[in-house]
């Protein structure tokens, strides 16, 4: 009983951090719900929200213009309506390919990061062996060294391995940039689980594998969920890896495709806006639907770091 409540307690705490309506005792703040101070506060915050959302509004507005209107007045807000830009971007602009490639790169690399990090995180938290600390520092070194530092040698290494300009090569590199954080993150979750849990399971005759898969793994579900969303976003948004390691363009994802579109035909603002919208729409949907998990993931990731 005792042992099972502790991780739940931790989850509740993190959820509270991410939930504005709980945790803090609102009754202490002076001023009623409709007090002038609260109204002024909302006016100020709403103004800031419009400023923050303006670039996104601009993308939607320019996407939905008629091509003729884009040529005359590309950034006037919502002055005409047409779906032509989306159709052009999807077909002529090859954004249908880019969407597919983005999923082909992001889904497997995210899966690899999560599986590998869960396994390693469990080991570094709960399975001691000689030399483990050194291995942990080697993995976590990846958090300190920017990708920039070794991206150039990695290019020639991939070329030598025959992995340059291939999906598996880009997927493995994307995955490798996420495993340091993932391992570190999952280790923190497994470390929080109480010692008594595995001891009692061991007394009951559970093997080490069973303790990991049947007892420990189900208790870090929230951590796995947060890591999955976090890694998916990071890999979907990654620009440098496809730019460098997928040069021919056959497997170009949305970010690199969008960049190539700007350098190729910079005057086609309508389809470019549509392409930008296609790139950010999945992220916005994912973020709004899972906003609690996303912010929780970022907060606990940062706080644990």
């Amino acid at each position: 009983m005792m042992t099972a409540t502790a991780p739940a307690e931790r989850d509740r705490r993190i959820t509270e951090l991410a939930d504005p309506e709980s945790g803090h005792d609102r009754s202490r703040i002076p001023g009623g719900r409709r007090s002038p101070a609260q109204v002024a506060l909302h006016v100020l915050l709403a103004g800031m929200a419009v400023f923050v959302l303006m670039p996104v509004i601009l993308v939607v507005s320019t996407t939905l213009k008629t091509p003729a209107d884009v040529r005359v007045n590309p950034f006037g807000l919502f002055s005409s309506f047409s779906l032509q830009n989306i159709i052009d971007a999807w077909t002529v602009g090859r954004f249908s390919d880019y969407v597919l490639n983005s999923f082909l790169l992001t889904v497997p690399s995210t899966a690899i990061v999560v599986v590998v990090s869960v396994m390693a995180g469990y080991t570094f938290a709960r399975l001691p062996f000689r030399g483990r600390t050194v291995l942990f520092y080697l993995v976590v070194l990846g958090l300190l060294v920017p990708f920039f530092t070794y991206m150039i040698p990695l290019y020639f290494q991939l070329r030598g391995m025959g992995l340059l300009d291939t999906l598996p090569g880009a997927i493995l590199v994307l995955a490798s940039t996420g495993t340091s954080f993932g391992t570190f993150f999952m280790r923190a979750f497994f470390s929080d689980l109480p010692q008594e849990l595995e001891q009692s399971a061991r007394v009951d005759g559970a093997s080490e594998v069973q303790i990991f898969t049947r007892i420990m793994l189900p208790l870090v579900g929230s951590g796995i969920g947060a890591l999955t969303v976090f890694t998916f976003l990071a890999n979907w948004n990654n620009f440098l890896i496809p730019l460098l390691y997928l040069p021919s363009g056959d497997f170009r994802p949305l970010t690199a495709g969008l960049y190539m579109f700007t350098s190729g035909r910079s005057l086609d603002i309508g389809p470019l806006a549509a392409g930008t919208l296609i790139t950010i729409l999945p992220i916005i949907v994912l973020f709004v639907v899972l906003q609690r998990q996303v912010t929780q993931g970022f907060i606990s990731g940062a706080v644990k770091g």
């Binding site: 939930d19 001691p128 920039f148 040698p153 590199v173 495993t179 970010t255 969008l258 970022f298």
Partner: protein
């Protein structure tokens, strides 16, 4: 915790744990060795040779690349831009983030909606952000110039990204727009853990709101403050995407930073050895700062829990 289990567990258990541990840790070690440690070692090697990307046996030049780097005025120029980027790009999100978090802390209803909106730019890809902000800064039709004209400041309208004196700060503003949401959300979560009884006690003792912020609230969120500081500072050295997309280091190198300069040297000019040396400089500069701030943060968190 791990040392306790080692001393308590019987030998059979310890052996079984070690066996499983080695199996479970193998994949991450393979990935780390192959795609991180090996290229990192190669980066050190590349910095000591004059590699053009073709010659399989590039000539050894010792510290030649490093000497060239110190004597290259473009490096110092880029480094200066990195410093501006780090100072402004760290200070602004920290200050604005704290202020907005304090506002959200005191709002009674609807705080969740603002939080989602403010955080959104942080999860968007740098390429998309760069493209859209390029339109906002557009000299003819850009929203910024339209706005300035509409409020009678048309004289200020200019080609923001084309002016060498302004371009870096224009891109910086975009980065601040994109990054401040992270600071807001983290600070807000830290503020929720602030002991409100202490704040109330200070209020009763006659502390004004500035004093309450400085003496009561800030010390309690200091570890989180330092953590955000570390992440933003270190990110400031390796900034790339947003500058690469918006200005590519131009106009006339006005926005060149170490990242874009290293990229150009390696992938445009084929000076692989030199480009790698520049990229190594980014690590050499950022790692000590990260370690130092992390130590400080740890010490403060320990003090916080101890008191």
């Amino acid at each position: 915790m791990s040392t306790a289990s080692r001393s308590l567990a019987p030998t059979v258990t310890r052996r079984a744990q070690a066996r499983l541990g080695i199996v479970l840790v193998l994949p991450v070690m393979i990935v780390t060795a192959l795609f991180f440690l090996f290229p990192l070692g190669n980066a050190v090697y590349y910095s000591l040779v004059d590699f053009d990307g073709l010659n399989p046996n590039p000539p050894f030049v010792g510290l030649g690349n490093f000497i060239r780097m110190v004597e290259d005025p473009a490096v110092w120029h880029a480094l200066g831009n990195n410093l501006i980027w780090i100072l402004v790009g760290t200070a602004a999100p920290m200050v604005v983030g704290l202020l907005v978090a304090m506002l959200l802390w005191t709002v009674r209803r609807g705080g969740a909606i603002y939080r989602v909106i403010f955080f959104l730019p942080y999860v968007l890809p740098g390429v998309a952000i760069g493209i859209v902000w390029g339109w906002i800064y557009d000299p003819v039709n850009g929203l910024l110039n339209q706005f300035l004209r509409s409020i009678g400041l048309g004289a200020w309208a200019t080609g923001w990204l084309g002016e060498p004196d302004l371009a870096l700060y224009a891109v910086l503003l975009t980065a601040i727009w994109a990054g401040t949401g992270f600071a807001i959300v983290i600070f807000l979560s830290a503020l929720r853990n602030v002991d409100t009884e202490l704040v109330d006690a200070a209020r009763i003792d006659g502390a004004n709101s500035a004093q309450r912020l400085w003496f009561i609230i800030l010390p309690q969120i200091m570890p989180v403050f330092l953590m955000v500081l570390t992440l933003t500072l270190v990110g400031g050295f390796s900034v790339f995407d947003i500058i690469f997309v918006m200005t590519a280091g131009g106009p006339a190198n006005a926005t060149e930073v170490l990242g874009t300069y290293a990229y150009d040297q390696a992938f445009v000019l084929n000076n692989i050895g030199y480009g790698t040396t520049l990229a190594l400089l980014i690590t050499i500069l950022s790692v000590p700062i990260a370690v130092l701030l992390n130590r400080l943060q740890r010490r403060l968190s320990l003090q916080g829990t101890g008191a």
